[in-house]
């Protein structure tokens, strides 16, 4: 698909409206994102170099480094509380690392001025775990929100764009609903439509599968995969749902205790000799990560009658 051509055959949407790139640029006033399908697929999009970050006394990342390739689905996995969401916020510039660098398109995020950071964010989409929909706006207005804020599009073009994105997530019929009337899965799909409405180069998904029923989960998995394959958007997926994540990821990075434990293709991880990796992937209750929280000797504690 050429950029500026508002057709999404991958989603079965036959659009009659097409806009030339220069018309779209003139009307929207938005910078045109690089079309990922034409970009080198193994080019690094996001680079994290020796990043350390702590909250209060708690060290979350201890000199962590990784590279996220352009146009691929990269999954960042790890147990709860390992800082996966924090990593997304560091990439989005909502948090600043204590040391090290986060580079997006070669730009160091923490050193950007507010105006340049916002320019960069226009090319990033983010799907929050909660959806983060604006509760006082309808589904239509939520999806239209970034367009209204960042462009001077005429109303009929906004309508076309919004309906097209809602069609992509299967919710074209839900335009008038308010966020309070949506199920968790629907809210996440609306949020997904909103995150792609500016045609971003990359999307960050924060725990997109958490709390969903199997059908909705399957829908979200399919949508993430289709968005990536059809539009070539760099997809950064943070999750601890092993099966769903491994089924669509091109590249997986496992993190724990502030460091990268293992990285590679899903098949490589499945075949890993590391007991920790095997425990995580297979969801075993006991292993290198013990089932029991550290406690005194059971005999001593049970017979001693002491809680501590």
């Amino acid at each position: 698909m050429r950029y500026g051509q508002l057709r999404e055959p991958a989603f079965g949407v036959a659009r009659s409206v097409q806009y030339a790139p220069q018309t779209l640029r003139k009307v929207t006033g938005c910078p045109l994102p690089t079309m990922a399908p034409y970009a080198a697929m193994d080019e690094t999009h996001i680079s994290i170099e020796q990043v350390s970050f702590s909250r209060g006394d708690r060290l979350i990342f201890d000199g962590i480094s990784m590279e996220i390739p352009r146009g691929r689905i990269t999954a960042i996995m790890g147990p709860s509380g390992t800082g996966k969401t924090t990593l997304l916020r560091l990439i989005g510039g909502q948090l600043v690392p204590d040391s090290g660098r986060v580079l997006v398109n070669g730009l160091e995020v923490a050193s950007l001025s507010r105006r340049r950071l916002y320019e960069l964010r226009k090319r990033m989409g983010m799907l929050f775990q909660s959806g983060a929909l604006l509760t006082d706006l309808s589904v239509f207005e939520n999806v239209a929100f970034p367009l209204r804020e960042h462009s001077r599009m005429p109303e009929d073009m906004i309508r076309d764009m919004v309906l097209m994105k809602l069609q992509a997530v299967g919710l074209r019929g839900a335009t008038e609903l308010m966020p309070a009337e949506l199920s968790g899965g629907m809210a996440r799909r609306v949020a997904l439509a909103r995150s792609i409405v500016l045609d971003p180069e990359m999307i960050m998904y924060d725990e997109p599968f958490t709390g969903l029923d199997p059908i909705t989960m399957g829908t979200i998995v399919t949508l993430i995969k289709r968005l990536n394959r059809a539009l070539g958007i760099t997809s950064l997926l943070v999750s601890h749902d092993v099966e769903e994540t491994l089924s669509i990821a091109d590249h997986v990075i496992l993190i724990s205790a502030g460091k990268v434990v293992e990285a590679g293709l899903p098949a490589e991880l499945a075949a890993s000799a590391s007991p920790w990796v095997q425990q995580f992937i297979q969801g075993l209750p006991d292993g290198p990560v013990p089932f029991h929280y550290p406690a005194p000797d059971p005999l001593e504690q049970f017979l001693g009658g002491d809680h501590a």
């Binding site: 909502q94 916002y118 964010r121 775990q129 983060a132 604006l134 509760t135 970034p146 804020e149």
Partner: protein
């Protein structure tokens, strides 16, 4: 003993940090106010929820406060045979003090708490964070219209409170207790000075509106993003606003009327 000093020091530092954050937040918000000229719709929407939706409580309270003033004033003034001065007493009490102060307290309870809860919940449900990631500054998009709306609405509400209060005093004094209507109105007209009384009252209500709205939006934006955090922030808005209004009233009254 050392712990006591350490605790005091930590509390002082925390209070200073918070005050600093409040001022930086205010400056960033004020920088976003001119942008509202390009999008007046945002301001109109907030004026409706902050001002229009506070009207009922303000008007009803104003009426009752005026009626109580009429009753109390009549009882006291009639001891000295000065019940004809009821109009000026009611009007001065309302325009100089009760109008701005009571309106500000009611405004903090009605609109201020709602502002804090709304912004705090937007924070806890990641709506503000989501806006930031969509390259929309939530301070300009969410906070600036609300601060400006509070700033505009409060003096108007205070003026309406005073007007309705005078009407309440008139109804009780003239309608119920038999004070002469002509004396009520003429003494009020002669005794209330436009610049000293009315204008100073308006200045007070502008100052109170600014402080109450600032506290409300800052508490919401700075709230811990949990249900308990939002609840505590809402309580702080009402308490801090009430204390700030009363303290500021003392200072302003000292500057204006002495």
């Amino acid at each position: 003993m050392l712990d006591l000093f350490a605790g005091l020091g930590a509390a002082t530092l925390s209070a200073l940090q918070r005050t600093g954050r409040g001022f930086i937040f205010l400056l960033r918000t004020l920088a976003g106010v001119p942008l509202l000229l390009a999008r007046p719709g945002l301001l109109v929407k907030e004026l409706f929820s902050t001002g229009v939706q506070s009207l009922l409580i303000i008007l009803v309270s104003g009426l009752f406060v005026g009626m109580v003033l009429g009753l109390q004033g009549y009882v006291t003034l009639s001891k000295f045979g000065a019940e004809e001065s009821l109009g000026v007493m009611v009007a001065l009490s309302l325009v100089r003090e009760l109008g701005p102060v009571v309106t500000a307290l009611l405004f903090a309870g009605r609109a201020g708490s709602a502002l804090t809860a709304e912004i705090g919940l937007m924070k806890s449900t990641e709506q503000l964070s989501g806006m930031e990631m969509m390259a929309v500054d939530p301070i300009h998009r969410v906070i600036a219209p609300r601060l400006t709306a509070g700033f505009i609405a409060m003096p108007i509400l205070a003026a309406l409170f005073s007007a309705v209060g005078i009407l309440g005093g008139y109804l009780v004094g003239v309608g119920l207790l038999g004070v002469d209507a002509g004396s009520f109105m003429s003494q009020m007209q002669a005794g209330v000075d436009w610049r000293i009384d009315v204008l100073n009252g308006v200045i007070k209500s502008i100052a109170f509106g600014f402080v109450v709205t600032w506290i409300a939006v800052f508490e919401g934006y700075d709230a811990v993003p949990t249900s308990e955090g939002v609840s505590q922030a809402t309580t702080r808005t009402v308490v801090h606003s009430a204390l700030a209004v009363l303290a500021l009233d003392f200072v302003l009254t000292g500057l204006m009327f002495t």
